[in-house]
């Protein structure tokens, strides 16, 4: 359990957090219609007759959305319900053409599961398990546009009917950090599975944040639900704000009302939207237009077989089979793209170089991309080129210094390292004759320092190395230089 506490005037308070994450299912078509789901299209260009709820239109479930929900459930080691059903959630709003949202209240497609989070990447001991209550499928609503007309609102139905997975956690989190780690881990798993792109800026993932406070060890307090928070930072900030607000209210003699609140990112505060008394009566009932969803054993087996290696398993394999330090394993497996990039590199380089490759990716590559303000997907250097660079270092063709030079050129030009080495003559030399000749010149030019060295000033050895390397424009193999210098200085 987290020891995160809010220190109120009257003592310590514990925060209890549950998250309902709405994740847009990766699918070309909507949950119950064939219309496209692409983001950013002109308003009302991706709307079928079904999405606009024209008279007599009927929903037909999109098998791909069901498959993605099942695969997600499997990735969370959750109970998959072979029999589930869609219900109608009835309410009126202009962005809801049918006058009801098709959702799953009574029989969700996925039941209880679990997510393991790490509060510290370097420390397995910081692992926590957060329970998942359920995952159900539902339709997204459209969007109102208030800036198109002086007195009227317009409606864009492009999102209307897009498939969402609602992933409901148990109230198992106790600090903003745990909630942040949970949402990052969930996002990572969804992206590994490929069931949601996790793009929070585009609204592909957003969370309703349930927060309550209590004295440690006491029963749960009354919770509030802050709707539609769309970044990890905002989720953590909303929790912190809301928990402090509740503590302040309770300590000043007030009571928490169960209510729906809004997160205002500009003011960094939550605001009341409606109380439980004002809550809608959604009049849920089974949608008579749809048959129950029954999943065959073959379908379930197919879903399971299609699952990739998931982040936890991958991290453990990197640490175990590949021998990576815990931190490296955690960093390289957090995002599916990173792991894919790293594995493509290893594929070319050979697994025996995994540790060195992991260090290079984390320090050299990430450092460079960070400096260039680029994402890994935009890296000018491909995994195959990186493998070549590392191989040239391993076989002595390039010294560390030369490798860094070559890498900089690769970043700039996107050229292959071998070509760069060839064209610019950056190859390291181990030609003892050439090196001996340079050493002889260096020693002759610095006779005084040679005398000092021979009289016991060992530290000057580095000076001779530096002079030799400089004279050879950094291309000499440092090991060979060391050996030959030692011999020459006798």
């Amino acid at each position: 359990m987290s020891d995160y506490r809010i220190h109120g005037a009257t003592g310590e308070w514990e925060v209890v957090i549950g998250l309902e994450v709405h994740a847009q299912v990766t699918s070309r078509a909507k949950l119950f219609s064939g219309a496209s789901t692409e983001f950013g299209a002109e308003p009302n260009t991706q709307v079928s007759l079904v999405d606009a709820a024209m008279p007599g239109m009927l929903p037909v479930p999109n098998a791909e959305c069901i498959r993605q929900a099942v695969r997600t459930g499997m990735a969370l080691e959750a109970q998959i319900n072979p029999w589930s059903r869609f219900d109608r959630k009835n309410y009126f709003y202009a962005d809801l053409p049918q006058g009801y949202q098709i959702s799953q209240l009574y029989h969700p497609i996925v039941g209880e599961g679990e997510i393991e989070i790490l509060l510290d990447d370097k420390d397995e001991g910081s692992a926590r398990r957060v329970g998942v209550e359920r995952i159900h499928l539902e339709q997204d609503a459209g969007k109102l546009m208030h800036d198109q007309h002086p007195t009227m609102s317009y409606v864009d139905l492009n999102r209307s009917g897009v498939a969402l997975m609602e992933i409901v956690s148990k109230p198992d989190m106790r600090s903003p950090e745990e909630a942040g780690a949970y949402i990052r881990k969930l996002r990572s798993i969804l992206r590994y599975v490929g069931s949601c792109d996790g793009n929070m800026e585009q609204g592909s993932m957003r969370a309703d944040v349930n927060v309550s406070v209590r004295r440690p060890g006491q029963p749960f307090g009354t919770r509030t639900e802050t709707k539609n928070v769309n970044s990890v930072r905002f989720i953590m900030a909303a929790i912190e704000y809301e928990a402090n607000r509740q503590v302040d209210l309770l300590e000043s003699g007030g009571t928490i009302v169960q209510e729906t609140r809004l997160w205002d990112p500009d003011k960094a505060e939550t605001r009341s939207l409606r109380s439980k008394e004002e809550a809608h009566d959604y009049r849920y009932f089974p949608d008579p237009d749809l048959l129950p969803v029954e999943l065959s054993d073959a379908f379930l087996a197919d879903c399971r077989a299609s699952l990739p290696e998931l982040p936890d398993a991958k991290r453990r394999r990197y640490e175990g089979a590949l021998g990576l330090p815990a931190y490296n394993a955690a960093v390289l497996t957090a995002e599916v793209e990173t792991a894919r990039w790293f594995e493509a590199l290893l594929e070319k380089l050979g697994h025996e170089h995994a540790v060195r490759a992991s260090n290079w990716v984390i320090s050299d590559l990430f450092g460079a991309l960070n400096r260039l303000g680029k994402a890994l997907a935009e890296s000018p250097v491909t995994p195959a080129q990186a493998a070549e660079l590392l191989r040239l270092t391993a076989d002595g063709t390039l010294s560390g210094t030369l490798a860094k030079q070559v890498f900089e050129i690769m970043l700039e030009t996107g050229e292959d390292p071998a070509a760069i080495v060839e064209a610019r003559g950056l190859k390291q030399t181990s030609d003892t004759g050439a090196i001996d000749k340079v050493i002889a010149d260096v020693l002759a030019a610095n006779a005084d320092k040679v005398a000092e060295y021979r009289s016991g000033k060992d530290k000057l050895f580095g000076f001779f190395v530096g002079q030799t390397m400089k004279a050879m424009a950094g291309k000499a193999n440092p090991q060979v230089v060391n050996e030959l210098l030692k011999k020459a200085l006798g």
Binding site: L58, F92, P97, R283, L290
Partner: protein
């Protein structure tokens, strides 16, 4: 050619095929008689040009030797079916001016089978009603009148009242109807024609304005059983756009028609003998039993113990689904919009729905909203779902003892307009015999069986096992042959 409008669906099909007359002649004759029949308020939209275009295509098809199953047959389409480019209002002001850019699967199937469209048929608003009096476009008048010398205008029944009256008055050889709790069968009985509601899922609901999704089924209404079989073959079929559509081949119902009832057991459910039903209903039922026996069937008394709960169950489930299905008529995207000055969104919803929906529709939306509300859901909706399962089980059990069930279609002959319109319960009782088969999703048909003392038609209902439309049609044919119903209303309009 006056006589052409006296022909039925199969007769027109065969006549066009055989060259006895052209499809164009048929379409012209019906177009003319439709125009003359406007006093009945049967059609909400007339589409003579569509009937002619289909007829010309049929004549061309005949010349080139590729006639389709319904080539040359002009039909009336209930206004619950969306018809591409032709106004579709479902009898409601809230859809006034709505012209769909799409064609319902069922009406599209008929088109593809070569049928033409004479027009859209008046109906109770959103198919909610048993007398056609809830239509925003005024009631349909039955072509029938009581033989008592009075000229009280009678109801053709509902909700497919325009459909029924059109066939009875010979303003169409065949029509589409829809049946949620008797809306094909009761009007068919009231005007002396045949009509079948197939097994739930036989006909796609795609493009059919929804009333109660788990009950709505399209079906044909026509002069006789054969015509119903011909039309149903064209209307039915799997539709991937309707998740509740049955993925089964459509049987050759017409080719397999047989009135030989030997070896068939006809069940007579004792719970359908209810107090207060006029003697003429019992009499026509007895006549039907005698016909079945004469056709070689064995008559067995059976029990459907939960029958008495069917009507209350129906009047919970159907309004519940309707309250949700009709939420889309909100003035935002199509149809009527009433936006009060300075009003907000809620004001627009309220004003639009207050002006757009009639009293019966509002009543059912309120009932449906109530039975789904938190705190009442279990007591009403959930319990009704359980009773519905029991009613379906009653039928499952009865099929161990018989192949078909024979009952009256409605508890009375047609009544006068206005007679029951202020008494919803009396109106709902019209469907007391029809509703159980709807709740169980079973095929059920009404066939005219005789006239009452006032000279008004009475119908009998045959209910069959799921997917066994063939036995229903066959028994209907046997009844039709023996009942010898030939009466037709005199053209007073």
């Amino acid at each position: 050619m006056a006589g052409l409008t006296d022909l039925g669906v199969a007769q027109i099909r065969d006549g066009v095929r055989d060259g006895a007359f052209s499809a164009r002649e048929v379409a012209e004759a019906f177009n003319a008689i439709v125009e003359k029949g406007r006093a009945l308020n049967v059609y909400t939209v007339e589409t003579p040009e569509l009937a002619l275009a289909a007829a010309d295509a049929a004549d061309k098809a005949r010349a080139s030797g590729d006639l389709k199953p319904l080539s040359g047959v002009p039909l009336g389409i209930k206004d619950l079916f969306a018809t591409e480019g032709v106004a579709t209002t479902a009898g409601s002001r809230i859809l006034e001016g709505f012209t769909p850019p799409y064609e319902s699967t069922v009406s599209g199937n008929l088109k593809r089978a070569g049928a033409g469209m004479l027009g859209k048929l008046n109906m109770d608003e959103f198919a909610m009603g048993s007398s056609n009096e809830t239509s925003a476009w005024g009631p349909v008048l039955s072509p029938w009148r009581r033989g008592d010398g009075g000229n009280a205008p009678l109801t053709p029944g509902g909700s497919s009242g325009g459909s029924a009256a059109a066939v009875a008055a010979r303003l169409a050889p065949g029509v589409t109807g829809t049946d949620t709790g008797g809306s094909i069968r009761q009007p068919a009985a009231f005007v002396g024609i045949a009509g079948i509601k197939p097994t739930y899922g036989r006909c796609s609901r795609w493009g059919m304005v929804a009333f109660a999704s788990s009950l709505d089924q399209a079906g044909p209404m026509a002069r006789d059983v054969r015509d119903c079989a011909v039309m149903l073959e064209a209307m039915a079929g799997f539709d991937p756009k309707d998740s509740t559509s049955l993925d089964l081949p459509v049987p050759a119902w017409e080719a397999s028609l047989s009135s030989d009832m030997r070896g068939k057991r006809i069940g007579i459910p004792r719970e359908y003998r209810i107090d207060g039903v006029p003697a003429e209903i019992d009499e026509v039922w007895e006549k039907g039993i005698a016909c079945m026996r004469d056709a070689g069937a064995e008559i067995v008394e059976v029990s459907l113990p939960h029958t008495k709960y069917a009507l209350p169950t129906y009047y919970i489930i159907a309004p519940a689904e309707a309250s949700s299905n009709l939420a889309r008529y909100d003035g935002v995207r199509y149809g009527l919009r009433v936006a009060p000055e300075q009003g907000n969104l809620t004001d627009m919803y309220e004003a639009t729905r207050a002006a757009g929906f009639g009293a019966e529709v509002k009543r059912r939306i309120m009932i449906g909203t109530y039975v789904l509300s938190a705190g009442f859901y279990d007591a009403y909706f959930n319990r009704a779902q359980k009773v519905r399962a029991l009613i379906a089980r009653d039928f499952e059990r009865v099929w161990e003892r018989c192949d078909l069930i024979l009952t009256p279609t409605a508890p009375s002959a047609a009544f006068a307009l206005g007679e029951k319109s202020n008494d919803p319960i009396a109106m709902y009782l019209n469907d007391v015999f029809a509703v159980p088969a709807s709740l169980a999703g079973l095929p059920a048909m009404s066939v005219p069986a005789g006239l009452n003392a006032e000279g008004l038609p009475l119908g009998l209902q045959l209910v069959g096992k799921a997917l066994d439309e063939q036995s229903v049609l066959n028994a209907g044919l046997a009844l039709e042959e023996r009942a010898g119903f030939t009466a037709r209303p005199e053209a007073w309009w």
